[in-house]
């Protein structure tokens, strides 16, 4: 499920293992959100760098919530993964000596971010799709996922509908890999595409799959002010600096050693604090600070940050060669997702998950820049291999007519109502709630209020109304399906955030500002219960790195 980098890499691995593979996606694979990743993909390929340093940086970046055994595997696979993608045809940027060029990124000890200008995701997505295109598989393009069929503790397939015809189908499968990407659209101010609604995560949760660490939401420091479009961390990696309205390079107060290249949670909180304390600029879209690239010179900015230059010019009317870019943090990445182990297995036999929709956990409480593209490919491959192996011996899946009826009935009810709640209104109400009450700085009172409000929106969803009666490409029906999925997930985020009475990585509680390893060095697990998510906790695996205070 899903045809971004994780889904495609899983499909490739499963096809090469000789299995009959279907790729189901709500977008054409080349339109997947993986293509929007800008800055790069980490691999310790530089002569001064080492896999151990990459592991350490990732563990530290995770604020010691990442599973160290998984992180070790992940970082060891980085080099071979990047090389394989180069051999598949990825057009990476090069150093003058012909090797892969590397740039600096936040929270990294050495420049280890391999990149393709500032469109690395697009470059990888093209190369992988073109490589996968030489193999045989079935593509279900623009299909919406409505249900994961689970019986007797194992997967039997999925139910989805073809947007072009509106027809529902059961797709029986011995194994299913969820690779449906993020759910950043829980928030209005996000770098995520409109399609990032967490369908696979929600559908899995509804089927009894554990979700992990849902409260950890990464806010990227530099979103273009009004539109929320991402300005890559690579802009700071190339030497971009942040200044407040007093002209101060304020990161010197928050991260004296590495300044703008501190970890994302640190930089985002710094910007929010500067603005809240009156040292930001203010405008019709709220407070902001400046990201300056002017001192880097036209040549460097236009060649290495080409997309950023275009975005700034098209979407903000700003030329970063000569003017500062107005930026403010916003939602960017979900560390949490479908709970898996290092083999991408879930608690349901035959269900695997990889990429942003999954939580191994590599990123723990805070993901380092350029580790996400790596995760999609490393764990996409693991999932494809594991799903293929499982399918070798798994019994035949059984689809019952009742499964289809049960999946279709609620959607039919949404369309047959005369009146009811409008999906667009519910989406705005949810997004406002998440931003106001479950944002960068959190506290008990806000989270309780947020939970109350999310549950109120959820109650209204029971009466959702789809106006559009057409069977052909009914995006109104898709809207309704997506808001339902997002509300399910929003509740798990708020409940997890409320329960975690400490501050760690991206989860910052003003009422519990310290990290509390004695109680909270553990993963949050959420399972669907009759009255909402039921929480439990699981230990963090750690091997070599004892928790230390995190200073940048």
């Amino acid at each position: 499920m899903g045809a971004g980098l994780s889904g495609q890499r899983a499909a490739l691995a499963a096809v090469l293992a000789g299995r009959d593979v279907a790729v189901v996606s709500k977008l054409h694979p080349l339109r997947s959100h993986s293509g929007a990743a800008q800055g790069g993909i980490n691999a310790a390929l530089g002569p001064e760098d080492s896999v151990d340093t990459h592991i350490y940086d990732t563990v530290k970046g995770s604020d010691y919530l990442g599973d160290q055994d998984a992180i070790e595997y992940f970082c060891r696979e980085a080099g071979p993964t990047v090389i394989e993608m180069e051999h598949f045809g990825t057009i990476f940027s090069r150093s003058p000596d012909g090797t892969l060029a590397r740039r600096a990124f936040g929270g990294a000890g050495f420049p280890r971010t391999i990149h393709a200008a500032d469109r690395t995701g697009l470059a990888l997505l093209q190369a992988l799709w073109e490589r996968l295109g030489t193999e045989r598989f079935t593509l279900y393009e623009e299909w919406d996922l409505t249900k994961l069929v689970v019986r007797d503790g194992r997967v039997h397939g999925i139910i989805a509908f073809d947007r072009k015809t509106g027809e529902f189908e059961e797709i029986a499968a011995k194994s299913v890999v969820m690779a449906t990407g993020p759910f950043g659209r829980l928030y209005g101010r996000t770098t995520n595409a409109h399609s990032c609604t967490g369908d696979g995560v929600a559908v899995a949760y509804e089927a009894g799959v554990y979700l992990k660490d849902m409260e950890f939401v990464q806010f990227h420091p530099t979103l273009l002010l009004e539109s929320g479009i991402l300005i890559t961390e690579g802009a700071r990696g190339e030497g971009g600096i942040l200044r407040n309205a007093k002209g101060e390079r304020f990161m010197s107060k928050y991260a004296p050693h590495v300044l703008e290249l501190a970890s994302r949670d640190v930089v985002s909180r710094a910007i929010v604090t500067e603005v809240a304390e009156g040292r930001g600029y203010s405008g019709p879209w709220g407070g902001y600070v400046h990201l300056e690239l002017m001192h880097l010179g036209r040549e460097k900015v236009e060649s290495r940050l080409q997309e950023i230059v275009d975005f700034s010019r098209s979407f903000a009317g700003i030329d970063p060669v000569t003017e500062p870019i107005p930026v403010y943090p916003g939602q960017h990445y979900m560390m949490g997702g479908i709970s898996t182990n290092g083999q991408t297995e879930t608690n349901i036999a035959g269900l695997f998950a990889a990429g942003e929709c999954a939580c191994v956990s590599i990123h723990g409480a805070n993901r380092l820049g350029a580790n996400s593209l790596l995760e999609t490919l490393v764990y996409g491959k693991v999932a494809g291999v594991a799903a293929a192996k499982y399918a070798e011996t798994a019994p035949q899946p059984e689809m019952h007519a009742a499964d289809l009826d049960a999946a279709v009935a609620p959607l039919r009810a949404w369309s047959s109502r005369k009146d009811g709640e409008d999906p667009a209104t519910l989406r705005v109400d949810m997004q406002k709630t998440m931003e106001q009450y479950v944002g960068i700085y959190r506290n008990e009172a806000d989270l309780l209020e947020g939970l109350k409000r999310i549950r109120a929106v959820k109650a209204r969803f029971a009466n959702i109304h789809v106006v559009d009666q057409s069977k052909v490409y009914n995006v109104n029906l898709t809207d309704a399906l997506e808001i339902g999925h997002m509300l399910t997930l929003a509740e798990t985020v708020v409940v997890g955030a409320y329960a975690r009475t400490e501050s760690r990585g991206a989860h910052f509680r003003t009422d519990y500002p310290k990290r509390d390893d004695a109680h909270w060095m553990r993963h949050t697990l959420a399972l669907k219960g009759p009255q909402g998510p039921v929480l439990s906790y699981s230990p963090v695996s750690y091997t070599r790195w004892d928790p230390k205070e995190r200073v940048y």
């Binding site: 977008l27 054409h28 080349l30 339109r31 997947s32 959100h33 293509g35 929007a36 071979p80 990047v82 090389i83 180069e86 051999h87 598949f88 045809g89 057009i91 990476f92 940027s93 090069r94 150093s95 003058p96 012909g98 090797t99 892969l100 393709a116 469109r119 697009l122 093209q126 073109e130 490589r131 295109g133 030489t134 072009k164 595409a193 409109h194 399609s195 539109s227 479009i229 991402l230 405008g283 019709p284 080409q306 997309e307 975005f311 098209s314 979407f315 009317g317 409008d422 999906p423 667009a424 209104t425 106006v467 559009d468 057409s470 069977k471 052909v472 490409y473 995006v475 109104n476 809207d479």
Partner: protein, 323 residues
């Protein structure tokens, strides 16, 4: 920064095959800041006025290629088109689906022909088993080799070029600008081992159908400049094949005509392109043209200032063309 709000009228193409016998336009009006992207305006119409208005969209930042459509007759990305300049120029915004692809509903088109053409150019590295990739490390590639890709890696497959292409509309077998720009990307890739085969295979019915109108380059939101890459492919194809393919003979004949006389001798061009046998095949058409324009059989006299024309050719033949 926000200016005053403008009243924006959107005339949007509507067609639902399930209930409409033929398409019609529907008018919506919104008050918006001039820098509002068209996609935001259309989503606002969906949210506030008409949830049945149907379009493809996803990233809203010009990287996923979903929201290409025709805006005041030009194929472009809705997310990257600000409404202010459109209204200033046309008084309203006419929004239609892309061309050269059948309409599924409203602004959503069937992209199957577009993707098929992309698949047909074999968009993947073709490797020679005798020349394996270096084991355990990347292929070495100089910055100059990377620069040869030009802007083609920026392509987001939005199909705006395909929609704008008149050659596609008369010949659906023509690969179209995106597929040809993609072909160029593989022909200049130092890792690919099938450059010659690719150039030979694309010529009949492919490369030379391009009309050189540059509408694709005008439509492309990522500055891929497909028409320039098609020109590069033509040059490479002539170099590989020696200019014996019909399309290349036409191009070479055209060039020689102008160099020799400064004017086109149409009859001579037919002979140079198709040979004497080919001329006989086109006799009927030739007679029809001759009746209207008898001078086509005369060799044109060299124009005045032909020396200046030749100087241009000499300069182009001896120097690298400017980038």
């Amino acid at each position: 920064m926000p200016g005053d709000l403008v009243s924006a009228q959107f005339d949007v193409y509507r067609f639902d095959p399930a209930k409409d016998a033929k398409p019609h336009f529907q008018t919506y009006t919104l008050k918006l800041a001039p820098h509002t992207p068209l996609l935001s305006a259309l989503l606002q119409i969906r949210a506030e006025q008409d949830p049945t208005l149907t379009l493809r969209y996803s990233c809203r930042s010009a990287i996923c290629g979903s929201c290409a459509m025709r805006v005041n007759s030009k194929s472009r990305l809705a997310c990257e088109t600000q409404i202010g300049p459109e209204i200033a120029e046309n008084g309203r915004i006419v929004v239609e689906p892309m061309r050269n692809q059948a309409v599924l509903r409203d602004l959503v088109v069937d992209q199957e022909p577009f993707w098929r053409q992309y698949d047909l150019i074999q968009p993947h590295l073709i490797l020679d088993p005798k020349k394996p990739m270096p084991e355990g490390r990347e292929t070495s590639m100089t910055t100059e080799e990377v620069e040869r890709f030009k802007e083609t890696p920026r392509c987001i497959a939005c199909a705006a070029c395909y929609s704008a292409c008149p050659a596609v509309s008369v010949d659906p077998g023509f690969p179209g600008p995106m597929a040809l720009a993609k072909l160029y990307r593989f022909v200049v890739d130092p890792r690919d081992t099938a450059h010659q085969d690719r150039l030979l295979r694309i010529q009949p019915g492919g490369l030379w159908t391009c009309l050189r109108c540059h509408l694709c380059t005008e439509a492309c939101p990522k500055d891929v400049r497909p028409s320039e890459r098609i020109r590069d492919l033509k040059e490479m194809a002539i170099a590989v094949q020696g200019g014996t393919e019909r399309g290349s003979k036409h191009a070479i004949g055209f060039k020689n005509n102008i160099r020799d006389r400064g004017l086109l001798s149409e009859a001579a061009l037919v002979r140079q392109t198709s040979g004497v046998a080919g001329m006989i095949g086109q006799l009927g058409q030739g007679v029809r043209i001759y009746r209207k324009k008898p001078e086509i059989l005369k060799k044109p006299h060299p124009i005045e200032g032909l020396d200046e024309v030749r100087k241009i050719y000499d300069a182009l033949d001896t120097k690298e063309a400017p980038p």
